[in-house]
């Protein structure tokens, strides 16, 4: 059965659990102020169909190249928030792909509404 803790261990165990849950609560609260839905227990709350197009030096990348670049399919469904895709592209282009001067277009339909477009161009 369960082993019993000494009083000190019990206190530390409780403190660790409180921190563990406080981190989760802060994730939930943080999601109130951002469109991102990481670590906030919001599965399947927004469905977006998307398509990514990338041009580097006027040359379009194939869907396979796009998958290799961002580690996600060039076309697909995002079940949490379309801002996860936007943030991923933005972070990639600001870091690993900074020197590529890529021009990225993201077309998406969220929850069946009209299609929207988001674009990114490195100005470097």
């Amino acid at each position: 059965m369960f082993c019993s803790d000494t009083f000190d261990v019990m206190i530390y165990r409780r403190i660790i659990l409180v921190v563990f849950f406080a981190l989760q609560v802060s994730g939930i609260l943080h999601a109130l102020f951002t469109p991102l839905r990481y670590f906030c227990w919001a599965p399947y709350d927004q469905i977006s169909l998307y398509r990514i197009e990338v041009q580097i030096n006027q040359k379009s990348l194939s869907p396979k190249d796009i998958q290799e670049r961002y580690h996600i399919p060039a076309q697909g469904r995002e079940n949490r928030s379309i801002h996860h895709i936007i943030a991923l592209i933005q972070k990639y282009e600001q870091s690993y792909g900074k020197k590529d001067n890529a021009f990225v277009s993201l077309f998406y339909i969220t929850n069946g509404k009209k299609e929207e477009k988001w674009q990114w161009k490195n100005t470097q």
Binding site: M1, F2, C3, S4, D5, M10, R13, R14, I16, L17, F20, F21, Q24, V25, G27, I28, A31, L32, R37, Y38, F39, C40, W41, A42, P43, Y44, D45, Q46, I47, Y70, H71, I72, R77, R80, H84, L88, K91, Y92, S95, Y96, T110, N111, G112, K113
Partner: protein, 325 residues
């Protein structure tokens, strides 16, 4: 309670925690790819982790640690449960593409299975409650959920649910979508309170199973199997198993199924009595239950039957290839 007999008689932990840890490993093996690929560092949530991007030994170290945890967790649930959970979190934090709510939840449950002791069992309640609260709160603040737009798209364009198409056409625009949206929000917020304070826990678990089951049927198995399974794991941990034996009186027409229940009662938590009466009844802490309620009580209080149900369900859905990772 009778002396507990474990299928693997090595650890000294409650059997329901052992069973849940086993189910979590099955989840990782069947429904995720984290044990198949060497983890990478790719646009990590914590930017400083990028410094380890070219140090492949870090990724190999985490991978080997995960494999060791999976292999050894059934022998040492306490320590390897925590290592396994932290390893999963590392994979998600180091590579944001790997993030998933079900994987995060499995990691949390694995950590808690390793960490929780008898006097901190409330942690499981808090964990389940937080999950439902986060989900309910996010939906209740989303305009597309409140005006029915989300559900309309979900049911008509994404999952093509025939009954929704039939009934929504006969009702005012978005009326059914709004009803379903509000029902989901109410259920999730209600469940967060019920599980936190263990209010009518038996009925709360039944309603939660019905909720996840309906979602599963509506989407023909495409949605909610992971959460049906993971919440099922959590429910095994939320039940107050009585210290005294549970009495089961059954007639000969239930003999076959009762023999199975009896065979897998490794903890010997039940006293089985075959009687001539047609009535099927279960007695828990001196309180008797009949018929369907008795069967449901038997099922939920029989941790090995509960475990077997989730295992069969997971294997069935995996075999049907209904799972979307």
């Amino acid at each position: 309670m009778a002396m507990e007999k474990y299928p693997i008689n090595i650890k000294k932990i409650p059997s329901h925690i052992f069973l849940v840890q086993l189910l979590l490993i099955i989840y990782l093996l069947l429904f995720t790819r984290i044990l198949l690929n060497i983890p990478q560092i790719f646009l990590p949530f914590l930017p400083f982790l990028d410094k380890f991007r070219n140090m492949t030994f870090v990724s190999y170290f985490v991978f080997i640690l995960l494999i060791i945890s999976v292999l050894l967790v059934i022998f040492r649930v306490r320590s390897f449960g925590i290592v396994l959970g932290l390893g999963i979190f590392w994979i998600m934090i180091a590579d944001r593409v790997q993030f998933s709510n079900s994987l995060s939840y499995a990691a949390c449950m694995s950590i808690l299975c390793g960490f929780v002791r008898e006097n901190t069992q409330w942690a499981f309640q808090v964990q389940v409650s937080l999950l439902y609260f986060g989900a309910g709160l996010n939906k209740s603040l989303d305009p597309d959920w409140l005006n029915g737009q989300y559900f309309e798209n979900f049911a008509l364009n994404i999952f093509h649910i025939p009954f929704y198409a039939f009934f929504s056409g006969k009702l005012p625009e978005l009326w059914l979508a709004k009803c379903l949206s509000y029902s989901v929000i109410l259920f999730e917020l209600g469940a967060s309170v019920a599980f936190l304070f263990k209010i009518k826990i038996f009925y709360a678990i039944l309603i939660a199973y019905i909720f996840h089951g309906v979602m599963l049927m509506m989407t023909k198995g495409a949605l909610s199997i992971l959460f049906f399974y993971l919440m099922g794991c959590s429910f095994i941990l939320l039940i107050d198993y009585p210290k005294s034996s549970i009495l089961v009186n059954y007639s000969s027409r239930f003999q076959f199924i009762m023999e199975i229940f009896k065979m897998i009662d490794f903890d010997q938590s039940f006293v089985w009595k075959k009687e001539n009466s047609k009535l099927f009844c279960v007695e828990i802490r001196g309180k008797g239950y009949n018929s369907l309620l008795a069967f449901l009580k038997l099922f939920l209080y029989h941790k090995y039957a509960h475990f077997l149900f989730l295992l069969v369900l997971a294997l069935f859905f995996k075999a049907k290839s209904f799972i979307s990772f």
